[in-house]
């Protein structure tokens, strides 16, 4: 796989950093961060039209960005039926088959409902969506979703918006090892080093929102995540050295410094 190009279904992406558009202080701050991050795939949510908050409508501003595709999410869906409805509505607007399938009925932890997600995925694949499901870091579920035709799987690193990083790293490693579709770490990342770490582990991409939107300088943080993702990917391709339980010297340990007649016994 080339460093630059990521294939999800028939879609080719030059950036392995996906960006969420929520929580930004303004539309302009969001647009600046998207540009700085180099992201080519950005998530959006659906909400009721509100005449008094017409500036919240992101369709116009996002469509002016070059080389950026929209990935509507199914946020707010409590079950498979609602998620399918949201996906259909999103596709009406995005004119793209890509959907981020997310069903997390409990607002306290926002953890995905695996059963409803699985059922919705089956139906959405039948309806020709490219389904990217947000899932718990469960290798068995990830495999089942791949088997029913999902275009990628997106295990969480930690709870949405928590900034707790790659708390599920060991499970994600198993998912990566077993997966034949791209693996995208979605949710929980706080710092570019964590994004780099995910890419070094072999993730195909990361999806970041809060870490950039809630940074003091979102645009600069978008650029930092871009660098982190690229460094991690490059490191993965370069091949990390094996680890060792004991020290392995990098300099020759010859004894030429030993003084003649010294009573030291090293």
């Amino acid at each position: 796989m080339k460093n630059g190009i990521l294939k999800i279904g028939d879609q080719e992406l030059g950036s392995r950093l996906f960006l969420g558009t929520g929580k930004f202080s303004s539309t302009q701050a969001m647009l600046d961060a998207v540009k700085a991050s180099g992201a080519e795939l950005v998530t959006v949510a659906l909400r009721r039209f509100n005449r008094e908050q017409a500036e919240d409508d992101l369709y116009g501003p996002l469509s002016e960005l070059e080389n950026v595709r929209l990935m509507p999410n199914t946020s707010g869906a409590m079950n498979a039926k609602e998620a399918i409805r949201a996906a259909l509505l999103g596709r009406e607007l995005s004119k793209s088959p890509i959907v981020k399938l997310e069903i997390h009925p409990n607002p306290h932890h926002l953890l995905p409902d695996p059963i409803e997600t699985y059922e919705a995925a089956i139906e959405l694949v039948k309806q020709d969506f490219l389904v990217l499901p947000y899932i718990p870091a469960d290798p068995v579920l990830a495999k089942r979703l791949e088997d029913v035709g999902c275009a990628a799987v997106m295990p969480l690193g930690a709870a949405i918006g928590s900034g707790k990083g790659l708390s599920t790293a060991e499970m994600i490693k198993i998912i990566i090892r077993d997966s034949n579709v791209p693996v995208v770490v979605d949710a929980g990342l706080r710092s570019p080093s964590e994004a780099a770490c995910a890419m070094e582990m072999g993730c195909d991409a990361v999806l970041v929102n809060s870490a950039i939107a809630a940074a003091e300088n979102p645009s600069a943080m978008g650029a930092a995540f871009k660098t982190g993702v690229e460094a991690g990917r490059a490191a993965r391709l370069a091949g990390l050295m094996p680890t060792s339980e004991v020290a392995v010297a990098t300099s020759p340990l010859t004894s030429f410094l030993k003084q003649v007649g010294s009573d030291r016994s090293d």
């Binding site: 969420g20 558009t21 929520g22 659906l46 909400r47 005449r51 017409a54 369709y59 607007l93």
Partner: protein, 66 residues
């Protein structure tokens, strides 16, 4: 015509077409997805759709989300 739009009662003054309702509410046609009585109405079908008394319309737009 009495409608429910995004959960609120709305007295529609136009001819009951989707276009008339969107214009009345100041919504951008190209930025809006629509459901009538819980069913999505694709924009291709808008011209052939006439709203009826007591229809429940949901108008949805893209906003920020992760």
């Amino acid at each position: 015509m009495k409608l429910t739009v995004n959960g609120e009662p709305h007295e529609h003054q136009g001819n009951g077409s989707i276009d008339a309702l969107l214009e009345e509410l100041g919504a951008n046609k190209a930025h809006t997805a629509l459901m009538v009585n819980g069913e999505m109405v694709p924009s291709n079908d808008w011209d052939a759709t006439t709203l009826k008394e007591n229809d429940a319309v949901e108008m949805l737009v893209f906003v920020g989300g992760g």
